[in-house]
């Protein structure tokens, strides 16, 4: 059973890496493709990317550990990103972040114990004109208030992915 699951995992990684559509493939593009497929990079992804790009395991780890969007454990069901860039900070992002951390029982970036929500800080989500901004499962949500943010996160917690 475990072997089959592992086999499936490797197959999914291989397909994601081999199926990249952009003309130039690199260690980084392959890691992005693997994480897009799985939501994280298991050890198998590092190995497969090393094989398929003819790089060493160490080189691949080097790249994977550098970019902050890569994660190495499966994410929770829903990804909540809160922007803490200076614009969002000035218009109240830190109070929103503090309230969400309290609601979710977290002290910083991380996953809730029930596996429903991954909370991530983002340096800039790119919609500063609508600050404060957050994103839920990669959908941008702007002009946030504490109440709106809490209700969006509560909805996501209840929703099945």
């Amino acid at each position: 059973m475990v072997a089959t699951e592992n086999g499936n995992l490797r197959e999914r990684i291989r397909q994601a890496v081999a199926g990249q559509k952009r003309p130039t493939t690199t260690v980084l593009s392959s890691l992005l493709a693997a994480q897009d497929e799985l939501g994280y990079l298991p050890g198998e992804a590092i190995e497969e990317v090393a094989r398929l790009t003819d790089a060493s395991i160490n080189d691949v780890w080097g790249v994977a550990s550098f970019y902050t969007n890569f994660r190495f454990e499966p994410p929770a069901e829903h990804m909540v990103e809160v922007c803490w860039g200076p614009t969002c900070h000035l218009v109240g992002a830190s109070t929103i972040l503090k309230q969400l951390l309290d609601d979710l029982g977290l002290t910083g970036e991380g996953d809730t114990s029930d596996g429903r929500i991954t909370l991530k800080y983002n340096t800039c989500l790119g919609a500063c004109a609508q600050a404060p901004v957050m994103s839920i499962d990669h959908h941008l949500r702007g002009r946030m208030t504490i109440e709106k943010a809490r209700s969006l996160v509560a909805q996501a917690s209840k929703r099945d992915s």
Binding site: G43, I46, I57, G126, Q130, V133
Partner: protein
């Protein structure tokens, strides 16, 4: 093979169908600023309602018209009518818009914002009378919000590809470089280097391949104009890259975007596809001898990846850490091949400069800073948005006249310009002109064009702490003065914010800052002390209150101090948490 004239004829025909046909043309802004406030949902409601009512109409998702504060913004042009704009739309407002305006020609009072174009109306405002429109001079953003970013014929009908066609058939490559030099165009990415001069460095480099790299990493918090161009009018960038390619003898272009910014990525890739189909990219462009390819390259999350040599490392798939120079990119760039790196905005000006000439361009703006500035106004401001204004306006004109000033009758306290490394300015800086050199002299930079406005409730210590936290988080770690210095500086700033700082902390900060400036390869470390230095210059009293009187005058620092810790950890830490790895042998 299609010539420009054939494309133009077809484009004009299609454009006439759109603007003078018998169907309404409805445009909805769905750039990131629109998406964040529900524009996608508005489009869906609009499409389904039109279908349910059996009303034929053309619905296009366009980019950002610049007035982000008015999003979601729906722009309806009925046959024979002007463009009428409805702001702050929600899906539930769509029904009345269709019933009242589309069917009965009554303007629903709730969302109507104004009109643009002919014939004029006297029942609603002319948008040209609003400062947010009247004060703008849109060149790089000329099509943003007006044309569909996935339709190259709309682009060509509005003057697109004329510059490329002129370069290919009427100008030698050297003449294109000279024209750019004569225009006085300076790079809009931060360093403000003369674009034509930069291009000239690569002309004599050996190839093929030679590369034009368009930098849309844009990790600067507070800036969204590069992404805005890609979402609103990617064709102007593609044409600009092709012109740069022709001028420098390059063979390939790469648009470099951060992974996760799906709007800009998808729209750029779609535009590339359309450009190939129309013969504007690929072999023998527009029937000329010139061939050129463009692709998209994605980077992971890393601010330093926007630095030109780190960007090349990232394209090669490595850690985005800066390289030592020399060798310079024009000789040894991506994959070791000659490369020219330009910011998206810079390249997006090229089509109009070549099409209308350097004299036209240099007549706009001021001497030394020709053309326009693309600014992102955000923070405590009445009309946040993405605006393109002539160089030479004062910051006061931009903030107060165009941006509507600070809301709620509050006092302006500070401006943070040009990204986190750009530094802050005080409220007495409103007389400074949008001018590369004047801004630099004042201790700030125009840089990426982000202008973050803070009102009297903001604390300079609190904001500086956030800026330093950002710089610390984003240090790539290659140069130890930056890696350790930023961490040291953040500790000091947190200490001051917790009211535990001492006067000697500031001297320590300054000493660390000088070491960073002297001992770092790239601007991240070299300019990393800027936020603190400039904050101390303009807001010494805020720092004194925290250090000597042990109080935060605005109370901002009394709230929980949250800042992420650097997460660029060592691979060993990750591996310790995972299963031991089977070592894959290199074949």
């Amino acid at each position: 093979m299609t010539t420009f004239n054939e494309l133009k004829t077809e484009a004009d025909r299609r454009w006439q169908d759109l603007v003078a046909g018998d169907k309404p043309w409805i445009r909805v802004g769905t750039a990131m600023c629109g998406q964040a406030v529900g524009a996608v949902e508005v489009v869906a409601a609009l499409r389904s309602e039109l279908e349910a009512c059996d009303i034929p109409a053309t619905v296009d998702e366009v980019g950002c018209l610049g007035m982000c504060y008015a999003e979601p913004l729906v722009d309806v042009m009925k046959p024979g009518g002007p463009r009428v704009f409805f702001s702050g739309m929600a899906p539930e407002d769509v029904g009345s818009l269709i019933d009242e305006y589309l069917v009965n020609d009554r303007v629903p009072p709730k969302n109507v914002m104004g009109y643009l174009g002919e014939p004029s109306r006297d029942d609603i405002p002319d948008l040209n009378s609003l400062p947010v429109v009247a004060m703008q001079r849109r060149i790089a953003l000329r099509n943003a919000g007006n044309t569909a970013p996935d339709d190259i014929y709309q682009y060509i009908a509005n003057g697109g590809c004329a510059g490329l066609n002129k370069a290919l058939f009427k100008m030698e490559p050297d003449a294109v470089v000279e024209e750019m030099k004569a225009s006085g165009m300076r790079g809009r990415g931060g360093a403000a280097f003369l674009t034509g001069l930069k291009w000239s460095f690569m002309v004599r480099s050996s190839g093929p391949p030679k590369y034009i790299l368009a930098n849309c990493e844009e990790g600067d918090p507070g800036a969204y104009n590069d992404k805005g161009i890609l979402e609103s009018d990617p064709f102007t960038l593609l044409e600009g890259i092709a012109i740069a390619g022709y001028a420098t003898g390059a063979t390939n272009g790469i648009v470099f975007i951060r992974h996760g910014h799906d709007g800009p990525i998808d729209r750029t890739e779609k535009a590339i596809e359309e450009a190939y189909k129309a013969g504007v990219l690929g072999q023998n462009i527009l029937g000329s001898e010139f061939s050129f390819d463009i692709e998209v390259s994605l980077t992971g999350e890393s601010y330093v990846a926007g630095e030109e040599t780190a960007l090349m490392e990232s394209i090669e798939g490595k850690r985005s850490m800066p390289r030592a120079r020399p060798p310079f990119p024009a000789a040894f760039g991506v994959w070791g091949k000659p490369s020219t790196i330009n910011n998206v905005k810079t390249l997006s000006y090229a089509p109009e400069i070549i099409s209308k000439g350097s004299e036209w361009f240099s007549s706009i703006g001021v001497e030394g800073s020709t053309g326009t500035a693309i600014v992102c106004l955000n923070g405590s401001i009445v009309y946040p948005g993405l605006y393109e204004v002539p160089m030479g306006l004062t910051l006061g004109q931009v903030i107060n006249d165009l941006g509507g000033g600070v809301p709620g009758g509050k006092r302006l306290k500070l401006l943070q310009t040009g990204g986190p490394l750009g530094g802050v300015l005080g409220a007495d800086s409103l007389e400074i002109h949008l001018d590369f050199d004047e801004m630099k002299e004042a201790g700030a930079i125009l840089g990426s064009g982000g202008i973050i406005v803070a009102d009297e409730d903001a604390c300079a210590v609190d904001l500086t702490r956030v800026l330093v936290a950002f710089c610390q988080y984003e240090s790539c770690g290659k140069c130890f003065p930056c890696r350790l210095g930023m961490t040291h500086m953040l500790e000091i700033m947190e200490r001051i914010a917790r009211l535990e700082g001492t006067r000697s902390d500031l001297e320590l900060c300054s000493s660390v800052g000088q070491t960073m400036q002297a001992g770092s390869l790239c601007g991240h470390g070299q300019l990393g002390f800027n936020p603190v230095r400039s904050a101390l210059e303009f807001f010494d009293s805020d720092f004194r209150a925290h250090i000597e009187e042990k109080r935060c005058p605005t109370g901002a620092c009394n709230k929980t101090v949250l800042s992420p810790r650097n997460t660029r950890f060592f691979a060993e830490d990750v591996r310790a948490k995972n299963q031991p790895l089977e070592f894959a042998a290199r074949s």
